[in-house]
Every structure is written in structure tokens, then in C-alpha cells.
């Protein structure tokens, strides 16, 4: 068979817009073919990526979370022993509503109370979430039904939101925090479970659709990535969480609490055999791309601090030297 001369990338739909932008520039500014990037979701990406070494397997996988231990094991089983992790930046997860409604100011604790499956009642005992209106939680919050459109349980964004926003609020209850030490499983179950009585609505993976639905329903809130807020700032507004507005700068300096890192993973064994991988990595880690004013920021990526960038860039360059 003829050797493959085109990079194949799989993985997260969150990283997809950034990876494609890099791939396109890479294709246009070099003699290599533009890589093919499949949007399979982080988990699906690892599944394909870890299937083995060789022509028919992907070279790079994008992920909106770090690789899991089970996935590393699976990789190793299939002979994918060396992989390199590259963190590319941050993604803010925002809660937003239509501009025709009022901007919401909310804390993570309140988010937990609004969206968790079980919440502590006055005595601190866990009960099924009784709150129907925002104002039931706190009179300062608006007086209408809790209705939040967000990604389904199968989505990485949903996991991140649960971990950062819900757990962040959850921890603030001392009783529950204590649970963390005694019964870690229970702790996680309490902090990560999203209510299923209709207040939280699984709305599929299409964030544009959520935004359009918000426009149609001013009382509803949506949970989605920062780039969608950025692009639709004329119609939707991000809620302030813990007093922080979801702004580019606030996410970049880490003061906005709900943001998560994005990654991609490279299969070392393919470097040198599939042409262009190193050059692609170079393009991605170039400041023109992921720098503070790189083109990826236009696409909504929140860049890492300079030192962190330098660290990953060095790692990538080391790959090239090694082969």
C-alpha cells in the first residue's frame, strides 16, 4: 500500500474549531496537505486514537479533558505506548440568557442549588431538589421558573460544567465537603448529579441551537462555550458567576471560575513516518496561532500564560529533535 501523506486528526468537538483553523493555515502555508479533522468527541477520539499504530489509525486526537487512565491502558494494549500531551489553551463555559431578559448575577453555590439533583435542606439533609423558581433559592434572583438548556450527559462540556460549577458550589457546604474525605463516591454523586425533573434540559450538542432557543425564550438560560457567547454578544449575555463576567481577560487570567483546559495528544510513533506532523505541531504552538493575539483567539480560544506556552512548545520541539 502507498504511505499516507495526510495527517489524520480525531477527537473533541470543542477543540475542533481551533484545530481546523490551524490545519487550514498549515495547509495553505506549507507544501503539506491540509489535515483531515474528524469531530468525534473526546472519548470517541481516544477510542480511535488508541486503536493502534499504523496507516489506518489517527495521528493526533483532540480532547476537551485530560486523558483518563483507562484510556492510556487501552492505548498501551494496542501498542500505542508513547503519546505526547499538548495543552492548547482554555475554554470558558458560560451561562447566558437572551439580551431581552435581565443579566443574571449568580454564585456557584446558587447554581448548585438550582441544578443539582439533591440539595441540602435547611437542616443540611439531602433532599430532592425542591427549587422551582430562581427566587426560591435567593430572593435577589429573578422570579421565574428555572430553565437551563445545556449539553447532554454524553458531552464533555457537561462533565466540565458539573465539575467546575456544580462541584464548586457544592464544596461550599461544609457537610458535603466533609463527605469528600469520608465517602468520596457519595461526594461525587452529590456534586455531579444534575437534576432530571425538567429544570435542566438536555439540549443536544448544537450550541447555536441553544442560542437560538434562548432568543425565542427570554426566561431560559443556556450553558455553552465562550466562543459562542463571543460571536453572539449582540443577542445573548453571559451571566456573572461569583461576580465575574465571562470576559476574555477574566477567563485568561483565571479569575472567571468556570473554565477548563483543552488538549491534544500526539502519537509519537507516527512522527517521521506521516509527513508534516512536526510542522503541524509547530504551527499550532506558534504564537501567531495560540499566542495572546494569535488567530485562535479570534476563534474564541483563551490562551495560556506565556510560561506555560513555552513549556509545551519546548516539549513539542523536543519531539522533533528526538526522531
Amino acid at each position: 500500500a502507498e504511505a499516507r501523506d495526510q495527517i489524520r486528526i480525531v477527537g473533541s468537538s470543542t477543540v475542533y474549531p481551533f484545530a481546523t483553523a490551524v490545519a487550514e493555515t498549515f495547509g495553505k502555508t506549507t507544501n503539506f496537505k491540509t489535515p483531515i479533522i474528524e469531530s468525534t468527541g473526546s472519548g470517541g477520539g481516544f477510542k480511535l486514537f488508541c486503536a493502534g499504530v499504523g496507516e489506518e489509525h489517527a495521528d493526533i486526537t483532540n480532547a476537551s479533558r485530560a486523558v483518563k487512565k483507562s484510556e492510556i491502558e487501552r492505548c498501551a494494549e494496542n501498542g500505542v505506548k508513547e503519546i505526547t500531551e499538548v495543552k492548547v489553551g482554555y475554554d470558558g463555559i458560560v451561562m447566558a440568557n437572551s439580551k431581552s431578559g435581565k443579566r443574571m448575577e449568580i454564585t456557584r453555590k446558587q447554581i448548585f442549588l438550582a441544578l443539582a439533583k439533591d440539595v441540602p435542606n435547611a437542616e443540611g439533609k439531602l433532599v430532592a431538589n425542591p427549587y422551582q423558581k430562581w427566587s426560591d433559592i435567593d430572593p435577589s434572583l429573578p422570579d421565574f421558573k428555572i430553565e437551563v438548556l445545556g449539553p447532554p450527559p454524553t458531552s464533555g462540556t457537561r462533565d466540565a460544567f458539573a465539575e467546575l460549577a456544580l462541584e464548586g458550589g457544592c464544596k461550599q457546604f461544609p457537610d458535603i465537603k466533609a463527605l469528600k474525605k469520608s465517602d468520596k463516591k457519595k461526594y461525587k454523586a452529590v456534586c455531579h448529579s444534575v437534576r432530571e425533573d425538567g429544570a435542566y434540559i438536555d439540549a443536544g450538542e448544537n450550541d447555536n441551537l441553544i442560542i437560538q432557543k434562548l432568543n425565542a425564550n427570554p426566561d431560559a438560560f443556556g450553558v455553552f462555550g465562550f466562543s459562542f457567547l463571543d460571536q453572539n454578544s449582540d443577542t445573548v449575555q453571559g451571566s456573572l458567576i461569583d461576580g465575574k463576567e465571562p470576559l476574555f481577560e477574566a477567563i485568561a487570567d483565571g479569575s472567571y471560575p468556570v473554565s477548563r483546559p483543552l488538549f491534544f495528544y500526539v502519537k509519537n510513533a507516527h512522527i517521521g513516518s506521516v509527513p508534516g506532523i512536526l510542522e503541524y505541531l509547530a504551527e499550532f504552538t506558534n504564537d501567531k496561532a495560540w499566542g495572546d493575539e494569535g488567530y485562535l483567539t479570534d476563534k474564541g480560544l483563551i490562551p495560556m500564560p506565556t510560561e506555560e506556552r513555552a513549556k509545551y512548545k519546548a516539549a513539542v520541539q523536543a519531539l522533533g529533535a528526538g526522531s
Binding site: G54, P152, G198, A216
Partner: protein
């Protein structure tokens, strides 16, 4: 590459065989083709078949067995492999070797032994191809000669050729069976693994569906979060709503077009309706989510009803619109196929058109209409996009069309393309859903076929 050349060679030989066979047949009767059993060209086909068919089998055998033979030969020389090596390990080494063979020695895993194995591999490949070439050529030529030799005045060439075609026809209809086998087998193994983690009874009768909890390994099914009842109930609710739209609208349109409308209206109307079936479902999805759902919500709230912003009603209504043509086009055909004699019978008794349609034509056309509706239901059950966009993914067990529900296909798609984990029941659940859905529709179809057959017996 080489195989392409071989293919063309064989095709060329077959072509030559055709002309040889034809010529031989004609000359065997001294040019008076009337004495031949079959037409000269049948003798041509006959020789071509002799030339091509055995070679085709050879090709197939080669494609199945060549990799296995070469693999075992290559691995034979690799010292890293002994009897205890796990099969996963063997496969990995093999893929490494092939990778080296394809991409050269600057690959990371390239140890000298591996490189040698890769060279060996390439060598064997070359030999294999050469063998294939010789064998193919030999088979084709021998076939050609045998076929040619068989030709004589008495050879029933047409019968032989037709036999071959018949086998081909049979093979085509077996593709449907093979597809089914493929589908079942690609679902079955994963589904069995799923049922190893979640008991079948819980899956079939559990009332709660919540794959989110299962993501955390420790709690898997113990909380009963894999009960498929709400999913199938949702599937039925949405399909039912869709049918409530599609059946009356489709059937009435069909009746109007076939019984009342002028041929012109009918000629134009049918293709226009058929466009509805071809519009991509994403479009319907947007339409349902952004136009229909808010409208329903507004109306509902005007009436003081509790309406979820994502309702089964919105998804069902729009899905109903999408499948209108399945009902209308197929019903139109069967209604027109009802013999005129029945209409005449009713008219002659003083029946009006509507009475005739409702009391005579529809009952007579029922089996066909049921067939069309079955196809429409199939489509409704299999639809994904509209539900994802308009009804959401919450697995509520409810019969209230104003609430959000979800369907089996939607869950399958989300589970399969979402963030999955190896071996997690969450991913495997998709396969189980698929398998159960397959069985359900199979039962539905068997029943429908029986019902239709029964009606036929009664009324034809």
C-alpha cells in the same frame, strides 16, 4: 495496483473468449446458425463465464487468505513472539511491521529485527502478487480453453448462461440477509457485554434512564439508571404524534388527489409532496425547534397549560410533516389500484363520492395503505435530528405530549458520538438499544405482514 492490471487482463481474456466462443459456435454448424441450440452470442457468454468465474473465485480466496498466510510467515521469523505472546501483542507487532514496511525505516519502532521482518513482509507480498498473477492467468486461460472446447452444436449454452444469471440474481437477494446478519452481529457482541453489566430485565423493564450517573464507574447500574422503558415510551409517543399528523393529512391528500382532483393537479401535487421527504432533516430540526416549539409554548401558556420549551408535540408534528409523502404517495397508488368495479357498484346504488370512498374504497385499499403507514412508522422510529433539536434528550416517562421526551435512535446517536469511555455501559447501551429496537421492528413487521396477508385472503 497489480490487482487492477490482473482484473483488466482477465476482462480482456473474457472478451477474447466471447468472440472465440461465438466464432467457434458459428463455424461448428458451418455458418448456419439455425442449427445451433442457442444464439451465437450465448456461446460467447458461455466461454466468457468459464474464463471469468473461476478466476473471480480465485481472487476472492486470495483476498481472504493471502493476508493470513503472509502474516503467519512473517511472524514465524520474529523472535519476540512465542507461544505465550498474547494475541493483542501479536497484532501490535504485526501492525508495527506493516507500518515500517509502508513508511520506511525512520519509524520509531524500527529495530533491526523489525526491519528485517518488514523486508521479509515486502518480499512475501511481492511473491504473493506474482503467484496471484500466474494463477489468475492460468485459470483464465484454462477456463477459456475448456469453455471453448465444450462448444458444439448440442451445447445448451443459453441454459448454462441463464443458470449463471439466476445464481447472480439469487445472490443479490441474499445481500438483504447478509445485511441483516451484519447488523445483528455488529450489535450483538457489544449488547451482550452490556447485558453482562446491566441485567436484561432491568434494561427492558426499568423505568429510569439516566446514563449520566453511570459515567462514574462505581455506581453503574446499581441505581437502575438503564431502564429503557422511558426511551421506548418516548419513541412511541413521538411516532404516535407524527402518525396523527401524517396519516390524516397524507390519506386525505391521497384521496383528494386520486378521487377528486384533475389529472393536472395530481401530476403536479404528487412530486411537490414528495419534496417533503427529501428535505434534509436538519432543516426540519431547526423548523421544529425555532418555529413550532415556541409557538406551541406560547399557545399553551395562553391557555394556562404547562408546556416544556422542548416538547414531544413539536417534534412529533414536524416529523409528521416529513413523512406525509410516505403515506400520501403510497396510498395514492393503492387507492387508484382499487378496481373501478367497486366504485361503480357503490355509485350504482346511489352512493355519493365520499360515501363510496369511506365505506368501500378505503376498506378495500386497506392492506396497501397499512403497508405505506408501516413504512412511514419505520421512518419515524428511525428519525434522529428532529427529536434531538426539538424534543431534547431528557428521558421522561410520560404520556403528556407537552413534555420533553427522547427516542431510541436519539439516545443511540448521542451515546455513540458523545464522550465515551471504553467498556462503559454508557457506550454499550447504544448497542443494546439498537438490538432491542431491531427486534421490536422485526416483530412489528412480521405482524403487519400477517395482518396484510389475512386481509388479502379475505377481501381479494
Amino acid at each position: 495496483m497489480q490487482t487492477t492490471i490482473f482484473t483488466f487482463t482477465v476482462l480482456l481474456l473474457a472478451l477474447i473468449g466471447f468472440y472465440m466462443g461465438r466464432a467457434r459456435a458459428v463455424s461448428s454448424v458451418g455458418g448456419d446458425i439455425r442449427q445451433l441450440h442457442s444464439l451465437p452470442r450465448h456461446y460467447g457468454y458461455y466461454v466468457s463465464l468459464w474464463c471469468g468465474l473461476p478466476t473471480l473465485f480465485l481472487f476472492i480466496l486470495w483476498f481472504i487468505f493471502e493476508p493470513q498466510i503472509i502474516n503467519s510467515l512473517v511472524l514465524h521469523n520474529v523472535t519476540a513472539i512465542n507461544d505465550e505472546t498474547s494475541s493483542a501483542m501479536v497484532a501490535r507487532i504485526l501492525s508495527d511491521i506493516k507500518f515500517i514496511a509502508a513508511n520506511g525505516t525512520n519509524v520509531k519502532s524500527a529495530t533491526p529485527e523489525m526491519i528485517a521482518a518488514a523486508d521479509h513482509y515486502l518480499e512475501l507480498k511481492k511473491i504473493g502478487i506474482a503467484c496471484l498473477g500466474v494463477a489468475v492467468l492460468a485459470f483464465a486461460i484454462v477456463g477459456l480453453v475448456i469453455g471453448n472446447k465444450n462448444i458444439g452444436e448440442k451445447l445448451k449454452a443459453r441454459d448454462q448462461v441463464e443458470k449463471a444469471i439466476r445464481v447472480l440474481l439469487l445472490a443479490s437477494s441474499i445481500v438483504a440477509i447478509l445485511t441483516t446478519i451484519g447488523i445483528v452481529s455488529s450489535l450483538l457482541f457489544e449488547a451482550i457485554r452490556f447485558f453482562g453489566k446491566v441485567p436484561l430485565s432491568e434494561f427492558l423493564f426499568g423505568l429510569e434512564w439516566s446514563p449520566q450517573i453511570a459515567l462514574r464507574k462505581d455506581q453503574v447500574a446499581s441505581q437502575g439508571s438503564f431502564g429503557a422503558v422511558p426511551i421506548f415510551a418516548g419513541t412511541m409517543l413521538i411516532s404516535f404524534i407524527a402518525m396523527c399528523v401524517a396519516v390524516p393529512v397524507g390519506l386525505l391528500s391521497a384521496i383528494y388527489m386520486s378521487e377528486y382532483a384533475t389529472p393536472k393537479v395530481r401530476g403536479l401535487g404528487k412530486p411537490i409532496l414528495e419534496i417533503l421527504a427529501g428535505i434534509p432533516t436538519v432543516v426540519y430540526g431547526f423548523f421544529a425547534a425555532l418555529v413550532v416549539a415556541p409557538t406551541i409554548r406560547n399557545i399553551g401558556e395562553g391557555w394556562g397549560l404547562e408546556v416544556a420549551s422542548e416538547s414531544a408535540l413539536a417534534a412529533g408534528l414536524v416529523m409528521g410533516i416529513m413523512i406525509i409523502p410516505f403515506v400520501s404517495s403510497l396510498s395514492d397508488d393503492v387507492i387508484r389500484a382499487v378496481p373501478q368495479a367497486l366504485r361503480d357498484g357503490s355509485y350504482a346504488l346511489g352512493g355519493t363520492k365520499s360515501e363510496t370512498v369511506l365505506q368501500v374504497i378505503l376498506p378495500a385499499a386497506l392492506p396497501g395503505i397499512v403497508g405505506g403507514i408501516m413504512l412511514a412508522i419505520s421512518r419515524a422510529i428511525g428519525e434522529t435530528m428532529i427529536v434531538v433539536m426539538a424534543a431534547g434528550l431528557s428521558a421522561n416517562l410520560t404520556a403528556n405530549p407537552l413534555q420533553a421526551v427522547t427516542t431510541a435512535t436519539v439516545q443511540m446517536v448521542t451515546l455513540l458520538v458523545g464522550d465515551q469511555e471504553f467498556d462503559s455501559p454508557k457506550t454499550l447501551a447504544a448497542f443494546a438499544l439498537g438490538l432491542v429496537l431491531f427486534c421490536v421492528t422485526l416483530c412489528l413487521n412480521v405482524i403487519a405482514l400477517r395482518v396484510v396477508a389475512k386481509y388479502r385472503e379475505k377481501y381479494d
